[in-house]
Structures are given as C-alpha cells and as structure tokens.
Symmetry: D2
Subunit: 343 residues, 4 copies
Amino acid sequence: MSKIRVAVAGGTGYMGVELLRLLALHPRVDIRRATSEQYAGERLADVYPAFRDRLDLRLEELDRSRLAEGVDVVFSGLPHGAAAATIVEALKSDVVVFDLSADFRLKDAAEFQRWYGAHPAPQLLADAVYGIPEFARERIRRARIIAVPGCYPTGALLGLVPIVRAGIVGDGPIVVDSKSGASGAGRAAKTELLFGEIQENVRAYSVGRHRHLPEIEQELAAAGCRSDVIFTPHLLPIRRGILSTLYVPLRQVTDLAPAFASSFASEPFVQLLGEGKFPQVRDVRGTNLAQIGWTVLDPKPLAIVVTAIDNLGKGGSGQAVQDLNVRFGLDERTGLDQIAAVP
Amino acid sequence: MSKIRVAVAGGTGYMGVELLRLLALHPRVDIRRATSEQYAGERLADVYPAFRDRLDLRLEELDRSRLAEGVDVVFSGLPHGAAAATIVEALKSDVVVFDLSADFRLKDAAEFQRWYGAHPAPQLLADAVYGIPEFARERIRRARIIAVPGCYPTGALLGLVPIVRAGIVGDGPIVVDSKSGASGAGRAAKTELLFGEIQENVRAYSVGRHRHLPEIEQELAAAGCRSDVIFTPHLLPIRRGILSTLYVPLRQVTDLAPAFASSFASEPFVQLLGEGKFPQVRDVRGTNLAQIGWTVLDPKPLAIVVTAIDNLGKGGSGQAVQDLNVRFGLDERTGLDQIAAVP
Amino acid sequence: MSKIRVAVAGGTGYMGVELLRLLALHPRVDIRRATSEQYAGERLADVYPAFRDRLDLRLEELDRSRLAEGVDVVFSGLPHGAAAATIVEALKSDVVVFDLSADFRLKDAAEFQRWYGAHPAPQLLADAVYGIPEFARERIRRARIIAVPGCYPTGALLGLVPIVRAGIVGDGPIVVDSKSGASGAGRAAKTELLFGEIQENVRAYSVGRHRHLPEIEQELAAAGCRSDVIFTPHLLPIRRGILSTLYVPLRQVTDLAPAFASSFASEPFVQLLGEGKFPQVRDVRGTNLAQIGWTVLDPKPLAIVVTAIDNLGKGGSGQAVQDLNVRFGLDERTGLDQIAAVP
Amino acid sequence: MSKIRVAVAGGTGYMGVELLRLLALHPRVDIRRATSEQYAGERLADVYPAFRDRLDLRLEELDRSRLAEGVDVVFSGLPHGAAAATIVEALKSDVVVFDLSADFRLKDAAEFQRWYGAHPAPQLLADAVYGIPEFARERIRRARIIAVPGCYPTGALLGLVPIVRAGIVGDGPIVVDSKSGASGAGRAAKTELLFGEIQENVRAYSVGRHRHLPEIEQELAAAGCRSDVIFTPHLLPIRRGILSTLYVPLRQVTDLAPAFASSFASEPFVQLLGEGKFPQVRDVRGTNLAQIGWTVLDPKPLAIVVTAIDNLGKGGSGQAVQDLNVRFGLDERTGLDQIAAVP
C-alpha cells in the first residue's frame, strides 16, 4: 500500500518533535521533510538523540514555496501567524494541511483579532475544520485544513460537550480549572520556563483570560451551550499532561453516564472511568488517550468532571495523527497504539 | 525572660518535624519532650540528620499521663482520634494545647461524626478555638485548646472570608479548587505516596467530598456566608505548598481591594498582591506567609482569587507557632521570620 | 504464525508492569496469565488504568504447580528466593524461563549465599545463561533459564566489557558510579521511597557493597578482567533511567572507538555516541536502548565512559523481551521499537 | 552595635538572590545597595515576591565607580571577567570584597588564562584568599579580597583535604564524581536549562574537563597532594544541592575518623556522620552545612567519601556570609542558623 508523504514545518519545538516521534512510528507515513528555524542544516538525531537509528532526517530551513513539493500532507507546528502565512502558500499545491497553531481554530476573524491580532488569511477560516474527531469526524474527512485544537480546549471539551449535548446543563457559569505540564508552554528559552522556576512550584496564569477561552466558548456554543465559561490554567512541575477539573451546574441531579456513553461509547481514544472514578495524567502520558471520570454532588445539582490527556498527545500531535487517519480513511488507531509507561 | 516549656506529641510525621524545626528556631521556646510512635528511643538527629547540632532530643514513647508534666504547652501532631484522647489527659495539667489534627476544629459533634466517626470528647468542643489568628486573635488569647486549622481550609478561608465579610458574594456556589504538595498526605508508607506514583503525575481526590469541606463551610457560615461550597483537592508532585483557586460569584462587578485590605491591612503574614497579580507556592515555601491575588472578570460579576501557602507552614505548623505567639502575648513574628528560598 | 504463549509471575511491581506493557505491544506474544500477590482477583486495568482497552487480564494468585500450564514461556518478576522456588516447579513443564530476579545470575552458589542467603536450587545455576544478548546471544538461543541481568550491571557491563575485551585496561581499580531512578527500588510501600523523601534529594546507598557488585565482577572476569571494581549506586528523583559513569585506567592513551565498534557495530540496541559525546537518560527512557559515550583524558591514560539505559528497559523488562526474541529466533527488535518521548 | 554596610553587585541571579536572602536575615548586616543588569529600576520584591515585607530594595544599574560608596563590604555575584573589572574599581575605596566568581580563585594567571581567558587584573591574584574558613580562617581575617570557592570544589575539598593532610593517600588517581542541582548552572535563559530538558533526566557534562578542576587541584596540591584528580560533574533534576562521591586510594586500610576529626572536630558547619553513614542533600538544603560520611573497602585500601552541601549555601552564598563573619570577627554562625526543611 502506498504511503502518505508528509512534510512537517516547525519540527523541533516540543509539539513538533512529538509529531515526528508519532509519524516515525506510523506504518503508513513517509516523512519527506521537516523544517526547523533553530536547527536547519543539522541532523534530527544530533538535535534529539532519541531519534538515532529511528528517523534519518536532515532538518531544513523553511522555504514556503517548496514546503508542499512532492508531499500529500503538510503538518504545521509553527507559531500562530507564521502558520497561516505558510499554509496559504502550501495550499497552492494539492495537499491537506494539519495546523497545530491557533490560526484556523476560530471561525470569527474579529474574535481571532481580539486575542491574536489581525488574521493573515481570514478568507480561509470558513474552510477549516476544528479537528476533534469525536465531534467532527465527517467534516474532517472532507477538509483541506484541519485546525488541530488547543490542548486546554481538548481537555475541556471532551468533558463538557457530552453534557451540553444531553441538554442537562443548568444555570450559572461553568468553571474550567486546568493543570498543565510545562511542555505546553513550548521550548523557547525563557526565564520563566527554567527548571529552577517551575520545579517545586505551581502557579495560575492568564487567570480567566487565556487565549484558549474563545475556542472553548466557540465549540460549546456550537454544541448548544449558553453558559458563561470561566477558565484558569495552571502550570505544574510535570513535563506532560493536562488534568482539567470541570464544575458544571445541572438542571437537576442526574446520572451522567448516558450522556458520556452517547458521545463516546465506541470511541477508541476516549475511556470513561465512570461515576466516582477519576483519571491521572500518568495513565495517558505519551498516548492519544483521554480518560474521563465524574461525580454529581447529590443533592446539589452540580457535576464535577475530570479529564486527563497528554497535552502533546490528544492535546496536540496525537490528535493531529488521529485527524490524519480520519482524513485518509485509515483505522484511527494506526500508529497510535502506545500504552502509557507506569511508572 | 523565661522560656515557654513545650512538649510535642507526634513529632516525626511531616507536620511534626516541621513543628520541631520551627520551635527549635524560636527564641522563646524550650522543647522539653517529643514523642514518636515509630522512632521512640532514637535521637531526633539520627532520624532526621537536618537536626544535627541544632536540636538534641531523644524521642519518647507517648505516655499520655506524663506528656504534660513540667511543660506550659502541648502541641499535638497526632492523628485525629488519638489526638483528642491524648489532649483530654493533658488538660488535667495546667497547659495550653495546640492540636494539629481535626479533633477540635468542628463545633458540631454530629458533623464531626459524619466525617470522622464518634468524637472522643464532645464536651470539649465548645472550649476550642479555630485558630486562624487573622480571624480569631482575641479568642485565641484566652483559649485552652487551639484547633490549628486544616491546610486546605486555611488556604480557602484566607481568600474567601474577606469577601464574605464585605457582603458582596452573589448567588451560586463558590468553587474551591486546591492543588497541594504531597507532604499534606503525611509520611505513612503507602503505595499511593511513593515517588513512582506521584512524580510526573497529578490527580484529583475526594472530589467534592473531602473532610476539609465542613471546616470551610463552618467558618464561612460563621462569617455570614450562605453559599454552597464545592471543594476539590488535587495532589501535585511537589513536596510542599497549596495553591487554591477560588471562584466566587459576586453581586456585581466591584473592586476587591477594600475587602482584602479591611481584613488584612496590618497582618504580618498575609501579603496582598492585588488585582491581576497571582501568587506562586515557591514564594511562601518554608514560611508562615500567605500570598493572595485576584481578578474580577468584568463585565461578569465573578471573582477569581488565588491564594498560596505552605501546607506545613501557614497551613499547619507555622500557624501553630503563630497561635502560640498570640496566646502567650509575644510578637507574632517571633521565630517565623523565614524568607522563602528562591530557587 | 502462531504466537508465543506467555505467563508472567509477579506482574504488578514496577518491573512486572513494564514487562506486561512491552508484551502487550509485542505482535508475537499471547499473554495467557499474570499473577500478583497484592492484586490477585482484580483486573489489570483496574489496578493500572493505562492498560484499559489494551490488555484484558484478570490477575491471578500464584499457583506454582499450574503457572506453566499451557504456555511456552514463563517470565518471573518475583523477588529473589521466591523466583527460584517458582522456577524449579515451572521447569517440570516444557517451558523456557526468563527470570528478572538475581536467583540465576551468579554462577557460584557460595558467592550467591554471601549476598542473598542459601540458594534454593543450586543445581540449576549451571544451566542458566546471563542474558545480555550483545555478549551471550548464542548461549541464550539454547538456554532453558535466562537470567535477565540486573539494571546496574547492564549499564556497567555495556560500557566496560568492550574495553576489557580489547585488552587495554591498565592497573588500578575501575570505578563504577551509577545514578538510578527510583523505580529501580521497586514498588514496596517503604518510607524511604515516599515522594517526600526522594524529591529534591539525592543519596548514595550500599556504598561500595551493593548486591549487584558480584554480577559485575563475574561478567568482567569472564571477559578477562583482573581489575578491582568499585561500585556505588545513587538514588535520584527520577522515575526511570540509569546513568553510569565509569572510570577506567588504560595501559596507555588510546582511541576507544575500535573497541566499542568491535563489540557493538551491528547491535540494534546499542548506540555509540563516540568520543566527547555523552548520553542522557531521557533519550533511552521507555526503550530497550543503551547509549554510550566516552572520553580519554589525554595525556592521562584514563577513560571515562558514560552509559545510559532505562532501568526497566534494557536494564530489565526490555532486555527480557530482547532475550525472548533471541531465544525464539525472532527479529530482536520485535515489540521493542519505542522511541523515547522528548520531552 | 553598628552594622556592616553592604553592597551586592549582581543580585538577581540564583547565587545573588540567595545572598540577599541570607544577608536580609543577618542581624549585623545593612544592605545598602544591590545591582541587577536584568532588573535595574525594579523593586526586589516585584522580581522576587519572597522578599515582600522582608527586604525593601530598589535594584540599581551597576555603576562601578560608585558601587563601593558608603559601604564597608562589596559582594560580587557577577560572572567571571565582569567581576574582576568591577572589583578593581571597588578596591579604590576602603572596602573588603567577597567575590563569588572564579576571578580570584586561581593563584596562577597562566592557569586562569587556560580555563577562562586572560585575567583582567593578575596583579591582585596574590592578595586574594581562597575562602574556605575551615582551611584558611586566619588568612581570611586579614584579606581584602576573599575568593568564595566554587560549589564543586567546596564539596570535593571538604572530603579530600583532611585525608591528604593526614598523609594517607595512596597511589593512583582520586576520582571526584559530583551530582549537582540545576541552580548551579545559573538563571540565564538557555534551552538546556528548561524544565522540559532537565526534569526526569540526568547527564554528565564537561566530563573530565570542567573549569572547577584546577581549583580542586590547586587546593589539594597546597595541602600536599600529588595525585591526579579526575572530576566529572552531573546535572540532576533538583533545584539545589551537590552530592560528591569521592574515590580515594589509600596507602593501606585505615580508619578515617581521626583524619576528619583532626580537620573538623570543632567546626560549626561541618558535620561528620562517620564510617558507613552517608549524607543526603536534603539535610543541608538551604543551609551553610556540609555533611560528610565515608567507608573504607577493607581489605581493599580504598576510601569512598560522600559529601553533601547546598551549592548556593556552603557552595556559594552561605560560605560568603561565613567568610564575612570570619573577616569581621563575628560568631561564624551569625545569620546562618537555618535548619533544612524536611520534607
């Protein structure tokens, strides 16, 4: 069977290198090209010795006009702004694009501008599909641009959309309190990301006003939600993983199992732990899995849902590969059969 | 000036050893006795080499009838149940008791029973003072039993009571989402507390139903709060520290600074970072400090307050020493002048 | 192609669960049975949720007389002593045994007794093969008992045997200074293994007198070494990985590359970084790889060799699976194609 | 009693901020000035909120010509090169200088040049005293420039000098294998110091050729040692602390206790754990203590000595304050009475 030929733009940030790891393990993918601003000209295995003997690749400078040459798929791990500019150019070739930045996640250019500045290619926003396969599988199958969702939104939406769809959300705001590993902040050399600043520490940031909020709001609204969403991310001293604790007012005390089963019963990457059981990030680390547990505080009509994902897995590169599998009609599990290492 | 003679029951758990550390640094305290179930007969410095040349003490078996002999003060770091039984006996002598367990925190014996089982000495509950000096200084000055508050309640109450007192809390539940270091779970040899289980991991536990919830509810109610409180603790891979993220519905958008200033303006251990600034646990680690920041999500009438304490400091042994200073008329800062080490 | 039917005794310690993870990913293995003292009767996925939907197995009590029933292979993750007693019984069936304990590593029953107590089945010692495939491939192919080497010895021997074989070791002792993650100490509920004891800490233990020393000495002697070996292990606050820093006196300043190439040039799991480049444990974590770098302190005739392995991978369960592949004539890489996740 | 007026140049790196912490706690010190390249103009407590209400200081730009104005003492936390240039200027005033860089540690300008480049002020090298009080107390009392020793050399020398002085070192090289926390590498925003690169990782660096080697050699030679020294540092995922494992050939098997007692019996900051007991970094963290344990591998004439210090404490700022106390005739323990927090 012929392989899918792939180019990766921005392959040496934490998101990009995880994408290369997953693609290198994917039996139907042929990685033809990877670019790196910082390491152009170097061999991947010299930058990341974990790839030694596993992926023989010389990193290239990004040449937008040639990025899509001879490939079927372009993955972009570039930052927002740079991503859209590159993708506009790539789409002149007959390729499918999977974008890990925020550039094609929001449907509303004005909303995008409010959070990120003017959009470089607003005409393309309508074409892009927000790529959570569990919620948009059919649209992903026909898309040319798949916007791979943000890590926090993925963790929040997997826990909230089923409840919203079930029509059981009550009055009052939904609170999304998320705890993330440091890799979510990327690999830029910033003082605040030093080991000495993060180890033995925890802090909230962008309290109530994080850029991932409009993504969550947009997708919840699309599912029929009219509640306010309050979102606070926290930075933890772990490398990977997001735990999201979701506080949801209900119309009345009710069993949530049917709502979650209705959305996820046959999903290969969503594991329902059930009422009273709660996930840990270690059980999904290095995988494309999401684990979900919940409780209802009977007699109070309030649900607490907890979801765990790997921010670089289901929250990023893993989901991008799942999107690829969906888009190209492969078994969705192809190349995504990792089992989390314990310990 | 004569020293305060002190006995410590249960001195080798994480809370007990932090208490011994603080008392050893306290210029007005003379540690006469410390007991340890696990290490009775051994020298403290052999169990904890950090005390070498600093505190020369042989750990004793707990003998309830003699614990209070020749001392002015008994600190109890014993677990709940054992604490009350020991304290009943100690109070036959003329001592003041500072109890780090839950035994004297709840006023209502029925509520205690619901969470912990039958109370061993319900007749003493009325005598005990819930020992957050910022809220109960005058009562602490006259108390014979000071119930040193739980770590989570301290972090939550310091952020919530000022808003409650200001009469600006709106309808809907208050959400308390807390993140704690592993020392809060104690030093018992349990599989779930192993390094291999906690490192690179995060999990919620006792979701919505943790034993510290009734403490929070009791003290908020005492301050005039009628809201539901939803509380979820999380276990982080850090040794010490609690970050509490508090979501509070307000009657209307309003500036919180006056409320916090009104409660804490002249408090030596509460530091107000102000609107839009948020604390990190590292800045209070090893100290008796609490740092508090907040934001109001204008135009939504909802406040997010973040507090940071050391669970063994202001959330336990530090607060116990502050209580001691209050009770004996010392400057409250005596022995509590640590500055958090950064990094 | 028919699958190799496998039983695992002692499957829920850290070594056992990593073995189950690797075997579950192995395309030619059918896991028929796994025992657990602590969790007998429970489903594996309830104990370790990472196995949900990946390995459906109910853990059994160990019944020595039936462990080998209907299988081709028995893996033992039992502690020393218990392992030998179980293996003696298993060998009454026509099975091949891979033992992760120390019971069959030492050839000399007297030496075994000195370190571990009387051997339960000394008559079997001669049959066992010390299973580092890079050094004993042919013997493993014919063995009934493969003693999977200790984690520290594997890390040390991979760095030392090539130099010994090259006949270039000079006078004076060889120093083996090893740094290990906490999973090497197992999953028993011991105070010294608590998060609060290991995090932000490092300590040496069994200084100069660790039980893995005789293994290192035995295998170096078999390779022709007559030097004293000095060995000190250290416990680090990481979950997995061993870095071994090896100080080797040479007869004269010489290039070590030929010696390492001669031993490992075509080895799939040993990666030579070369002179002046040194490995990190993160690049081998979760894999069966060993990475080796070195330098010679010209003009001093002294080499420093640094090796990195995962103590549960090449230092344990990974090597056990490699041994299985060798023993059953499979491509050695089968089921062992993980790429270390970075970060 | 009048206070010692102090200026700190380079006060916001990890070494500088630890110095400010210790000086702020010192009852005889008045911090008049602190400079910071990165944060000039900001308040210390805004950069490091741990100093809130504890040290009210506005950070200044470094003005070499005025640094020493109105102070008795200048501490320099500047990098090498910049330090010497600043100190030359400071010495035009009547001040005593404590330099935390390498600029005044080596006596031989040629040796300095080999490791660091040309020395900016070689004429001052003879005046400087290498400031380990346990070995140079009398010279420190009369010095104008105290070169505060490097962190690795301090850990190594405290374990080696007593044995060298005792005249019992045998033939063959001494191996110094050191494991350090990440704060030793400073606070510069470098990719290799990011949390994602250090957590769950360990690596050797500058293997056999680290800049601290000549310091160790110089001071051992001054004590009468003629052995080669082999030194390898390792970077651990801890914030603070250095554990040094020292392998020392002896003339014959002998008891080391007299040698250590002879050097350290009455030292307030060196704690001898004795034969067969080994230190952990957690017991000295945040303090100026060194703990030392050892064993002799009878019948082999080889000693293993393990020392633990805090790299920012006895390995840096703590020792600088101890040097200050010595130089100004104060009790050496003044301001250095911290007890390591456990956990």
